[in-house]
């Protein structure tokens, strides 16, 4: 063999075998998961497989899989760390491949790029050779600096702005150890080669000159260890968190094609589970971690449990569904949908009876808008009362759908996994809305809003009352005065992170009062704690979470809290004697 191929030495074997193993396992896994896509998901992929969507998909794969732009945005140091390892390594492979293929040689086996300096012992003179060597040296330094940061993070995470990092399991630690060894060993091997053959670049060459020429024994040993480290990493990769490297790329691709999570777990979910890098960015801001010290329920652990096929229902259920982690997750995994899948109580019969809804008379509301207060607004009658006054002031005819009878939109049931019951309610309410012929549905409760918008398939527009009021103000249908009460706005989870409504509430408040900032706002706002997402918490625990959110709002010493969710309103109203109002109430007070 040696005679037939001068670019072979037995030490490449661990690398080659490891790479083949890795490829085999990945293909096997990816195909198996793909087979578990449901019909609709597969149809979407078939339709878009080679459409123009592929271009944004590739771009995003590069942006997020290699450059990690979202992590950069959240945290510069972490962004540097993640991208140095990913981009640096990617470049080493890419440029190494080009370098080895441009080198005049009798053959170009694929491992040549990996062990280039061992096999190519002379300085090359093909055009651009020096540039390529320079890039290779630079990239090696880049990766090593990232590894150094990772080691620092392991010892003292706060330097990198993280209070808590993920508690890793054994396989992840092994994989990480191999990963951390690869690049120092590569450096050592190249330096030893440089000292012997004088084939180093500016960095390895400089280091090589500092030591005496190495003997062949050390040289071989070092390159063998380097190859073994690669092999170790490849073999552990598919079973460790590093499976995210490939899964994330495919996930991005599928997502860009338009595939989404379903109410049950599918093959797509498997891609999501495996795309989690266990970076731990979902830990620090989780209120359950911060306020209650529940430290095994965060998304990173929840997903890992699922991947390991052990998912205690307690972990699935102990979550506020506040979506803070979802907004922090750099991989954009649909964490809430997966949580909900695991909560599915399937056919559990709750003996609930929504028969009373059948007795609601169909109402002919042609030419009116529909108003849906929701169960929660029945506990904050000030909100629907304010809305009535606003409708009146705008000269808008309306139909208050659930004025006499409380009707649930079904979302709280859905969140707790009672899918069948929620579907029953949706069917009944849809029927009622269709029969009424209203032209638009306005809701006061963000939970109902999200439900009508995403879970129902209504043919009319659904808007939240803050959007509606903003529209009335813009079109001049209502006129308001501006008072000078210093008001802070609390972003409700379901309205903000849930539906992306941040602008309208602020517009309305700016028109009516003196808006001041909270410490953390918009995507970063804090959950009020008294919500329906987590049924395992007792009132004292909810109160601790609420108090933290309250403190967050007190940042600029406001005189009143404004919110746009009846539940948040109640949460803060119980906090103290501090005035808490819904935006609708503030507008009503300031109507001209």
């Amino acid at each position: 063999m040696e005679t037939s191929n001068p670019y072979f030495s037995p030490f490449v074997l661990p690398f080659v075998l490891g790479a083949i193993f890795l490829l085999g396992i990945c293909v096997w896994k990816f195909v198996r998961w793909f087979k578990h896509f449901d019909r609709l998901q597969r149809a979407i992929i078939r339709k878009n497989l080679l459409s123009w969507k592929i271009i944004p998909a590739l771009w995003e794969m590069f942006r997020e899989g290699i450059l990690h732009v979202r992590i950069w945005r959240k945290n510069l140091m972490l962004g540097y760390m993640h991208s140095s390892i990913a981009l640096g390594w990617f470049m080493l492979i890419l440029v190494g491949f080009i370098e080895s293929h441009m080198t005049p040689a009798s053959s170009h086996p694929f491992w040549m790029a990996i062990f280039y300096r061992f096999f190519i012992t002379t300085h090359q003179t093909f055009p651009g050779a020096q540039v390529l060597t320079f890039i290779m040296e630079l990239m090696l330094i880049y990766v090593l600096s990232g590894i150094l940061l990772a080691v620092v993070k392991k010892i003292y995470s706060r330097i990198l702005g993280m209070k808590k990092t993920t508690k890793h399991i054994l396989i992840d630690r092994f994989a990480k150890a191999f990963l951390w060894l690869i690049f120092p060993l590569r450096l050592l091997s190249e330096v030893l080669a440089a000292s012997r053959f004088q084939n180093g670049g500016f960095f390895t060459g400089f280091l090589g000159d500092l030591i005496p020429p190495s003997n062949e024994y050390f040289l071989l040993l070092s390159w063998t260890l380097y190859s073994c480290a690669l092999c170790g990493f490849f073999v552990t990769l598919p079973f460790s968190r590093y499976m995210h490297i490939f899964s994330e790329l495919l996930l991005i691709y599928f997502r860009k094609m338009g595939v989404r999570e379903k109410s049950e777990r599918t093959g797509y979910t498997m891609y999501e589970l495996n795309a989690c890098s266990r970076c731990g960015m979902c830990i620090d801001n989780c209120p359950l971690n911060k306020e209650l010290g529940h430290n095994d329920v965060q998304s990173v652990y929840f997903l890992r449990n699922l991947r390991q096929k052990k998912s205690p229902i307690r972990v699935a259920d102990d979550c506020l569904m506040c979506q803070r982690c979802a907004s922090d997750c750099p991989v954009n995994i649909d964490l809430m949908a997966i949580r909900q899948q695991e909560r599915n109580k399937h056919e559990m019969d709750t003996a609930d009876n929504y028969g009373y809804l059948d007795t609601v008379q169909p109402f002919n509301a042609i030419g009116r808008v529909g108003y849906f207060g929701g169960c929660m607004s029945h506990l904050t009658p000030g909100v629907p009362e304010a809305m009535k006054a606003i409708f009146e002031a705008a000269g808008q005819k309306y139909w208050y759908m659930d004025e006499d009878r409380t009707m649930c939109c079904g979302r709280p049931l859905l969140q707790q996994g009672f899918n069948r019951q929620a579907a029953d309610l949706r069917r009944k309410l849809t029927e009622m809305i269709n029969k009424s012929k209203i032209t638009m549905l306005i809701t006061s409760c963000p939970i109902c809003y999200q439900s009508f918008k995403k879970e129902y398939k209504l043919r009319i527009p659904v808007i939240h009352h803050t959007e509606y009021i903003a529209m009335l103000l813009k079109t001049g249908r209502i006129k308001v005065r501006k008072d000078d009460v210093r008001t802070v706005y609390h972003d409700p989870c379901e309205l903000g992170r849930g539906c992306g409504i941040y602008k309208e509430p602020r517009e309305v408040l700016k028109a009516t009062t003196h808006l001041v900032k909270a410490k953390q706002e918009k995507e970063d706002s804090l959950c009020c704690g008294i919500n329906l997402g987590d049924t395992l918490l007792d009132i004292d625990q909810q109160t601790l979470i609420r108090n933290a959110a309250f403190q967050n709002l007190m940042y600029k010493h406001p005189d009143q809290i404004a919110t746009a969710c009846p539940m948040c309103k109640k949460a803060f109203a119980h906090a103290s004697e501090f005035p808490v109002k819904d935006i609708a109430e503030i507008v009503r007070e300031n109507l001209k």
């Binding site: 029945h378 506990l379 009658p381 000030g382 109640k570 109203a573 119980h574």
Partner: protein, 333 residues
């Protein structure tokens, strides 16, 4: 001669002041309002005997006619500091007074019913609190939201007490019997009205209370329903619709009423909370903590600072006066 400061001129403060003065102490009695006994003169008649609140107030006020007692009105005390052997009493404007010993009798405030928005207080005119009802009884003007004589009156117990959502797990102790008292008063003024009391359980702990409750049913035709009211809403004719459940027969229940009276519980007053915190003697719910459950119930963790009355926990007037007497004797030791 001992120099004593008493903070809060309610029943507790006045009773203690008069006892201490008769034992040759020099008493400074601070009151934040323009007048004493604000939490008595806002009532009409008192349980258990329907005696007049104003008469009791007059009687208590007459005890203050003593040159050893100096009543200092319009003075809100915000802090008490130990200064060698003395205490420095500091008011809102930063003015300080000196005393050897201090008695805190800053009392209670009623629970702010706005905080239970689902009951519609401040939103529907037909929803009032027990304090509003006291005023209506006093002025003999029990009217509904449009100024007419109500056909139906519903009382709701435990508003802001025994309620984990509002953060008050404790029982306010006086509201059950106050509801019975008020229901009887309403019956006396409105012979034809239907009167309901919604309760979780009725706590008729005092002498004569149980008899009063029985009389309310037998003689005054007041109906007691076991169940909490979950929400209130307005009807088109400005009445109040309530949703509840009769938990004795297990039936959900809807009812329309002219007046919904919320029996608001007792919370530590703002003064009580401020002093509890600033002096480091806060107990559960920011009432002031006394030292022992059985003995030393008028001492606090700070030697020289004593406490009496509803600044400590909910209690009736009789218990308050007894407690104030005990505190005065403790301070004379």
């Amino acid at each position: 001669m001992k120099k004593i400061a008493i903070i809060g001129a309610g029943p507790a403060g006045i009773e203690a002041a008069s006892i201490l003065a008769s034992h040759d102490c020099e008493v400074q009695l601070f009151e934040k309002s323009a007048d004493t006994l604000s939490n008595i003169t806002d009532k009409a008649f008192l349980f258990p005997d329907f005696s007049s609140a104003q008469e009791l107030a007059n009687k208590l006020n007459s005890q203050l006619l003593n040159d050893k007692i100096k009543v200092i009105l319009n003075t809100e005390i915000v802090d008490i500091k130990k200064d060698n052997d003395d205490f420095k009493i500091i008011d809102r404007d930063g003015k300080t007074y000196v005393a050897d010993k201090v008695l805190i009798t800053t009392g209670y405030n009623v629970f702010d019913a706005h905080r239970k928005e689902e009951l519609g207080y401040g939103i529907y005119k037909g929803v009032i609190t027990s304090l509003d009802m006291e005023r209506m009884i006093r002025h003999k003007q029990i009217t509904n939201s449009i100024g007419e004589e109500p056909e139906k009156v519903v009382f709701l117990q435990c508003v802001g007490s025994r309620d984990e959502k509002s953060g008050n797990h404790y029982c306010s102790k006086v509201c059950c019997v106050t509801a019975v008292k008020q229901a009887i008063e309403v019956r006396k003024q409105l012979p034809k009205a239907q009167i309901y009391v919604f309760y979780m359980d009725l706590r008729m702990w005092g002498q004569g209370f149980e008899e009063l409750y029985r009389e309310a049913q037998e003689k005054y035709d007041i109906r007691f329903v076991r169940g909490r009211i979950s929400e209130a809403s307005a009807t088109f004719d400005s009445r109040v619709q309530i949703k509840s459940e009769d938990t004795l027969i297990g039936q959900p229940l809807k009812m329309t009423t002219d007046l919904l009276v919320l029996m608001v519980g007792m919370e530590p007053s703002k003064g009580t909370r401020t002093l509890a915190e600033n002096c480091g003697i806060a107990g559960p719910y920011k009432f002031i903590a006394s030292e022992g459950p059985h003995t030393n119930d008028n001492n606090t963790a700070t030697e020289g600072i004593f406490v009496a009355g509803t600044a400590k926990r909910p209690m009736s007037i009789r218990d308050t006066l007894t407690d104030a007497t005990a505190a005065a004797l403790e301070m004379l030791k």
